[in-house]
């Protein structure tokens, strides 16, 4: 077993009202960033875990997303990265 660092991104599913994203977009417009069309606020989760190899680390993280980290009704998730070794 070796240590892996898996980063997961969870975002509100497209088409579902995201009032937080809308509020942030409004604030950015007020700050003078009119070019911003859309903002989605999600979660970035960093997992440090032990796995046999990189592929099984990703597979484990995916299972965690399906069971707990993301809500399958309203959210999408993506494995953003898998790197060997713990964070320093």
């Amino acid at each position: 077993m070796s240590r892996f660092r898996v980063t997961v991104q969870i975002t509100p599913r497209r088409g579902i009202l995201d009032p937080q994203g809308k509020a942030v977009a409004g604030a950015l417009h007020a700050l003078g960033f009119p070019a911003v069309h859309d903002v989605h606020v999600g979660r970035h989760i960093v997992l440090e875990l032990d796995a046999a190899d990189q592929a099984s680390a990703e597979r484990d993280a995916r299972a965690m997303c399906e069971r707990l980290l993301a809500n399958p009704v309203t959210e999408d998730f993506a494995i953003a990265g898998v790197t060997a070794g713990a964070a320093t």
């Binding site: 509100p12 579902i16 009202l17 009032p19 937080q20 707990l68 809500n71 009704v73 309203t74």
Partner: protein, 229 residues
Amino acid sequence: MKFGVVTFPGSNGDYDAFKAVAERLGEEAVYLWHKDHDLQGVDVVILPGGFSYGDYLRAGAIARFSPIMQEVAAHAKAGRPVVGFCNGFQIACEAGLLPGALLRNDSLQFVCAQVPVRVEAANRFTAGYEVGQVLTLPIAHGDGRYTADEATLDRLEGEGQVAFRYVSAAGEVDAAWNPNGSARAIAGVTNAAGNVLGMMPHPERAVEALVSSGDGLPLFESLLARVGA
């Protein structure tokens, strides 16, 4: 009839529910500890309001993995009544006992108010009301926007699983009376089998005219009427 109120870390409506049953309904009530695996032979399980596990990750997401939820799921699967108020509704959705999910209010504001709520369906939880009756019930939540895909919403409507809806005092449905942006102004739903109810309003906090409307008590009485039925 015996009611069990589950206490999760962060529950704050458990005492209200306990009192509503023990003092206003006059039935036996027990607290069920979230770490136990024993429902103590209760007939009805109440998942109370509050902020279980600090609403970390998502409201109800962690509470659904509490040890006692295995027994609660088995109780529900056996067709026995489970009621979730507010955070209890969120937990029931996360646990898959009810369809859909509760998201952040569209206003991004925590809403604490007495609101008109219309009874939408005749079922074991609403037998003490008339369909179409407008109740006044308290709400207190930041994550109460009921959300499900269109097909699920259509099915809920078609099967009479929408139990309560936010309306005006005169009973009209309009965005102006929807306190949290819930899809189709849905305030409460039942599962397909009809033995699990989840709702954002707090009937357990509306059982005394002194502090609220008293409109919540018939919901508890409805459950009693089913004994032996």
